[in-house]
Amino acid sequence: MNWLLQNSDKFWAYTEVHLALALIPVVAGLVIAIPLGWLASRSRSARAVLLALSNILYTIPSIALIVIAPAVLGTRILDGVNVIVPLTIYTVALLVRGIADALAAVPGHVVAAANAMGFRPLRRFLTVEFPLAVPVIIAGLRVATVSNISLVSVGALVGISGYGQLFTEGFQSNFPTKIWIGLIATLVLALLADALLLLLGRFLTPWVRVGR
């Protein structure tokens, strides 16, 4: 606890970077996964290719993708982008299947009703099909957010900032307190983010509770 009080500036700096590196991929992943999920819900072959690719990419350990990233992206080894891109890939891989299944599961009569009311495809997607997929998307986002918050620390192994620095510094100076602080802070962030997404999901889909 003393360490934390004496180094609160450093701790908050790590927190800030850690959150940014974990959450930017969640947003980016969602933005990419929605059109891909839509594509996969429309075409059988697109679905097969996208899901196979997602499975393979999700299989690759994060340390490997973080080290490979500079070679592919042309970034420096210490660049935070090397963490952001792999975590975005994992987020997309987690979300695509759920979004594709949810969009494909929208009942035909609902789509037909929207068509009959004169909705054009884009408006129908945004106001009918997409909202029906929100519960699945929130479930996927919760998993992606929690695992991203945990995965960012792997970046510390190649020198990228975040709570992972507390682990590597704690190891090098044989000071377990730092590691416990980083570990607990990671769990707290994950728990908070998960709870916020749960609430957001409830707020966005009031009809789910009414329907029960």
Binding site: S62, I63, A64, S147, T168, G170, T186, A190
Partner: protein
């Protein structure tokens, strides 16, 4: 990629075959221990239905737990060496195996289990003859998840001095040889993908053909979805 094609990197104590052997060694030993612990526990919880919340909670908690911290803490407390690293790998591999077994047995249609009791099977036979074979797809799903977790974490463990393919990443980092780091990362990625494909093949071999089409029932699909999103390192 010149690093990988240089024959000098394919022989000796720090050659690729030796490092791969070490990596597979850590993986096999820790998975074996994890199965011995996790499978019976998962089967027991699944069969009796008691303690399910604990199993699910443990698996969800694991998703948030940074494995780097687990490895370092164990090494700081127990000293450098292979034993603390393997202990950390076992700790991370038990929950997915336990959860897979538990979810698999829970996902077996209660009507099937009831029918087994109805024809006079004893509890032991219900578990071994009906529940476990029916649970195999999810049991193996949990095992796959655990295997990937272990392969990834064994790489990270090279940071605290253990062997395996992760050595190239950290030796390369220390020497500022990005070539070597990249080669290590590519080898780890390949290993994970190949092992996962082999496990998918094994899954096809082991799982009863009668269960293949059953993979789409609601109960099972829910359980599969819960599991596929298990721990990721």
């Amino acid at each position: 990629m010149n690093w990988l094609t240089d024959p000098a990197h394919w022989t000796g104590a720090d050659g690729v075959p030796q490092r791969l052997f070490e990596h597979l060694g850590y993986t096999a030993v820790s998975l074996l221990i994890a199965v011995v612990i996790g499978f019976p526990l998962g089967a027991l919880v699944g069969h009796t239905g008691r303690g399910g919340l604990v199993v699910v909670g443990l698996t969800n908690g694991l998703r948030a737990l940074p494995s780097l911290a687990v490895v370092i803490l164990l090494v700081l407390f127990a000293g450098l060496g292979d034993a603390p690293v393997i202990a950390a790998l076992v700790l991370l591999a038990v929950p997915p195996i336990m959860a897979g077994t538990y979810a698999g047995i829970r996902a077996v249609d209660p009507v099937t289990v009831d029918a087994a009791r109805g024809v006079g099977m004893r509890e032991r036979n219900v578990l071994f003859g009906v529940e476990i074979p029916n649970a195999m797809p999810l049991v193996l799903g949990g095992f796959r998840s655990a295997t990937l977790q272990v392969i990834a974490t064994a790489t990270i463990a090279a940071f605290v001095g253990s062997g395996g393919l992760g050595r190239y990443v950290f030796d390369g980092l220390a020497l500022q040889e990005y070539d070597q780091m990249l080669a290590g990362a590519v080898l780890v990625a390949l290993l994970a993908v190949v092992v996962d494909l082999l496990l998918v093949g094994l899954q096809r071999l082991i799982v009863s053909p009668g269960l293949r089409s059953a993979g789409t029932t609601g109960r099972r699909r829910k359980a599969v979805a819960a599991l596929e999103t298990g721990g990721k390192q």
